[in-house]
């Protein structure tokens, strides 16, 4: 099955959401999560334009449901369709084999031309955080000479939370900071 000209209608989307959950709000959340999963899937599979491939996958699933196909395991069905789209994408595209990629020093990869602005935006975004969150994120990503796992375990003990909870909390704050910095850079541009 190649990419078709079928477009996702509102009715088809509604049917798709119903398959996620009877609760509209929960259905919306799961739909957005599925879009993210599909995008990451194609990205981690090193596919170019992972967002387009994710959109193609959603469109195919929604069309099947709209045409009356009985889908009992929606998440599994998405995975199957995503694999199909991936394989089609691989056939259509050619990527540079890994062993042909020159080994570059880390500091020559991802040269950040906006480093100063990014740093400035980060400082601004850090100031917007609650004190506790700011201290947590700075301590969490501080490079200790000892094993980081031991340092972070000590940090978790000091906060009175399990290590995994600390990891989740740090990830949440980091994502919020990344979004803040991205918006800051966009406005600066």
């Amino acid at each position: 099955m190649g990419r078709s000209n079928w477009t996702l209608t509102a009715e088809a989307l509604a049917k798709l959401l119903e398959h996620f959950s009877a609760n509209r709000e929960e259905a919306g959340r799961q739909y957005n999560l599925m879009v993210l999963k599909l995008t990451r899937y194609f990205e981690w599979r090193s596919r170019p334009a992972p967002e387009e491939l994710a959109e193609e996958t959603i469109s195919r699933v929604a069309r099947r449901i709209d045409e009356g196909e009985n889908v009992t395991n929606l998440h599994g069905y998405f995975f199957s369709v995503a694999r199909l789209v991936f394989m089609e994408s691989v056939r259509e595209d050619s990527t540079v084999p890994l062993d042909e990629i020159p080994e570059l020093p880390a500091d020559e990869v991802c040269v950040d031309e906006e480093e100063d602005e990014r740093l400035s935006c980060l400082d601004r975004c850090l100031d917007q955080l609650p004190v506790e969150s700011r201290n947590l994120i700075l301590k969490y990503y501080h490079d200790e000479k000892r094993a980081k796992i031991d340092y972070r375990k000590q940090l978790a003990n000091a906060l009175g939370i399990p290590l995994n909870a600390l990891r989740i909390r740090a990830h949440r704050i980091r994502i919020a900071l990344e979004k803040c910095v991205s918006e800051c850079l966009t406005h600066a541009a």
């Binding site: 090193s46 998440h75 890994l98 301590k139 094993a147 003990n157 900071l177 990344e178 991205s182």
Partner: protein
């Protein structure tokens, strides 16, 4: 475990593209179905990016990750962000301090799901001394209250016992008082009987001094008359009582024809005005040589010279009066 920021987890190998196809499909099927597995991959990506920025990846890992960057603008942005975050974290004074709780953690909002409120409470060192002091205070207050309650309870029991003892004493005293009253009544009755007995003896002594024939006899202060049944005021057999000046008492010896009653009432009445001048109740008859007599001792000033009548009534056992005899006599002054 090496000093890389993340261990050689399946997520790390997946992200670096180091898994077999079978492993990859298994992991992907997992994170499509399970949101928590997808989150684990996101966290693994964070760690991988940080390790790359810190130059802590193995050469092959760094190469594989670099290859990933070429195909993902998102990853590049994340790496650039991680770089400035690391720079700021390393330069921050806060991060250089040993990990301690800078501010008290809210007790409610940030508690991990599944922990109880008391676990969060005791987690904070700030609260522990206050809690310990509160517990000690509560224990002391409880001890004081219990001690006081015990004292009050003991006092109540003691008072109850005393009340019971006092009640018994009161009952005994009441009983004694009743007995004493009874004895007093008996004594009074005894004294009355004794007085009557003495009066009888006195009369008997006086009778013993009286001559055998009934005549008027004058003793010092006394005037005596003997009244018999059927006496007339005038003519032969009339009884006259002569009261010389200075006489204090008139003795009337009233002879009974028959002694049918346990006691007698006697009253002296003037013949002209029918006025009672003297009366006496519950008289006991006395035995004399001439028979049973009643003795009346009358103050002389009650008997001015005139004709009188002594009415004698017998008192039955039920207290009723029955007429026995009238005894007329005349009082004159010498």
């Amino acid at each position: 475990m090496s000093d890389t920021e993340i261990n050689d987890s399946a997520e790390k190998r997946y992200l670096l593209g180091m898994c077999t196809e079978e492993e990859r499909n298994l992991l992907e099927e997992g994170f499509f179905a399970d949101e928590s597995k997808f989150k684990a991959l996101e966290h693994a990506e964070d760690d991988l990016i940080d390790a790359f920025v810190r130059n802590k990846l193995r050469p092959k890992e760094r190469r594989d990750f670099t290859a990933k960057l070429f195909s993902s603008d998102r990853l590049i942005q994340r790496v650039n962000f991680a770089r400035v975050l690391a720079e700021r974290a390393d330069s921050s004074e806060v991060s250089k301090q040993e990990p301690v709780v800078a501010t008290p953690r809210p007790l409610v909002s940030q508690s991990k799901a599944g922990t109880h409120w008391w676990e969060n409470l005791f987690a904070h060192a700030v609260w522990r001394p206050a809690l310990a002091a509160s517990v000690v205070l509560i224990i002391l207050a409880s001890w004081v209250l219990i001690s006081r309650w015990w004292q009050i309870r003991s006092e109540t029991e003691r008072l109850s016992t005393e009340r019971a003892v006092l009640q018994r004493q009161k009952e005994e005293l009441d009983k004694l008082a009743l007995e004493q009253q009874t004895r007093n009544n008996e004594s009074a009755a005894e004294m009355q009987r004794e007085r009557e007995h003495l009066a009888e003896r006195l009369s008997a002594l006086e009778e013993a001094n009286r001559p055998s024939t009934p005549t008027n006899r004058l003793t010092a202060g006394f005037a005596t008359i003997f009244l018999t049944p059927g006496s007339l005021r005038s003519g032969g057999g009339r009884s006259d009582l002569k009261l010389p000046p200075g006489t204090a008492t008139a003795q009337l010896f009233i002879e009974l024809e028959r002694n049918d009653y346990p006691s007698y009432d006697a009253s002296i009445k003037g013949v002209d005005n029918e006025q009672v001048v003297f009366s006496q109740r519950r008289l006991k008859p006395r035995k004399t040589g001439s028979g049973q007599v009643l003795v009346l001792l009358v103050p002389a000033n009650r008997l001015p010279p005139a004709d009188y009548n002594v009415s004698v009534h017998g008192v039955t056992k039920s207290g009723e009066l029955e007429s026995v005899q009238d005894y007329p006599f005349r009082v004159t002054q010498r």
